[in-house]
Symmetry: C2
Subunit: 156 residues, 2 copies
DNA sequence: TATCCACTGGACAACCTGCACACCGCACGG
DNA sequence: CCGTGCGGTGTGCAGGTTGTCCAGTGGATA
């Protein structure tokens, strides 16, 4: 069920240079191509690798503003709220959470002014009672997994 | 600077079936291969597509617990805190934000118990004054961009 | 010891990529 | 009205890569 050291190096390699194919990867890992291929297949079927989707930058799409909103939901309205939020394109991610607030939403907008519109659209729904928003100023650590992979591969 | 309808369809296609190559994509889009290739190149150089990194699932790596922590930082300690957090493998993402709290951290752990260890490590640093954590229970909308791409492509 | 499993090295055809070239239609400015 | 630039279309080619299969090897296990 775990990930061994070879898997770890393979994942790192792919994370850093996704363009390289199985053959090139096997060369750099110093193993036979069939091995690299088998490892990759296994990682995919095990679900460790979900896919190789293109990494799209919302900023380059014209949505340079990112924000996180914490929502408070009326009891029993969860499902409706989820459906509503899923219908808003600017909602990139939605989690239900413990603690103060019931949901955490990641959203983007074209500008700070546009963020107001997005928030209005997000909270303009019956089941949502309160929302508090935090605008992202900087992103010193963009979403990453390599360090985690390294750790997971370390402890066999 | 924008994204036209063809770009949008190309991105959607790649997002849904990353395995297909340029040739197959061009066939499905009903355009010449050279066109698809040129579009893809342009999207890459414009920064819309950052890359094709493997989409790794932390849960499958043995880290099924996700949480968000809001940190309060001592004035002037920002840089040190950033460096400290960047050194923690379980920290997947770090944002500096406005509003209550100064930073938002996304972290993972092997279990709820393990989360305690991770949080201790995260907040066990001099510049950090307070931390409030929200554990993710469900993730009804995983990180997505397709709807946004569609919208960006819609308004030419 | 027999068996299972992963890895190796090699081979094959089919396919895709990167690149180049000639040509066409359109928009724009002179 | 014409030249130019840009993006798209077809086409072609060499080289690399993929998917797949096979036989052989070594280690771990029952």
């Amino acid at each position: 069920m775990g990930i061994d050291e070879l898997d770890g190096r393979l994942l790192e390699l792919l994370a850093e240079e996704p363009r390289i194919g199985v053959l090139e990867a096997s060369r750099r890992l110093g193993v036979a191509r069939g091995t690299a291929q088998a490892r990759l297949d296994r990682l995919r079927t095990k679900g460790v690798i979900r896919g190789f989707g293109p990494d799209v930058d919302p900023a380059a799409l014209g949505y340079p503003v990112t924000a996180f909103a914490t929502l408070e939901i009326k009891q029993g309205q969860g499902a409706d709220v989820r459906a509503h939020l899923a219908g808003v394109p600017e909602v990139l991610e939605l989690h239900t959470i413990t603690g103060q607030g019931d949901m955490l939403v990641r959203l983007v907008a074209r500008s700070n002014a546009d963020l107001q519109r997005v928030i209005d659209r997000v909270v303009g729904f019956d089941g949502i009672m309160r929302a508090s928003t935090a605008i992202v100023m900087e992103n010193p650590v963009p979403l990453r997994v390599v360090p985690l992979v390294r750790q997971a591969a370390g402890d066999l």
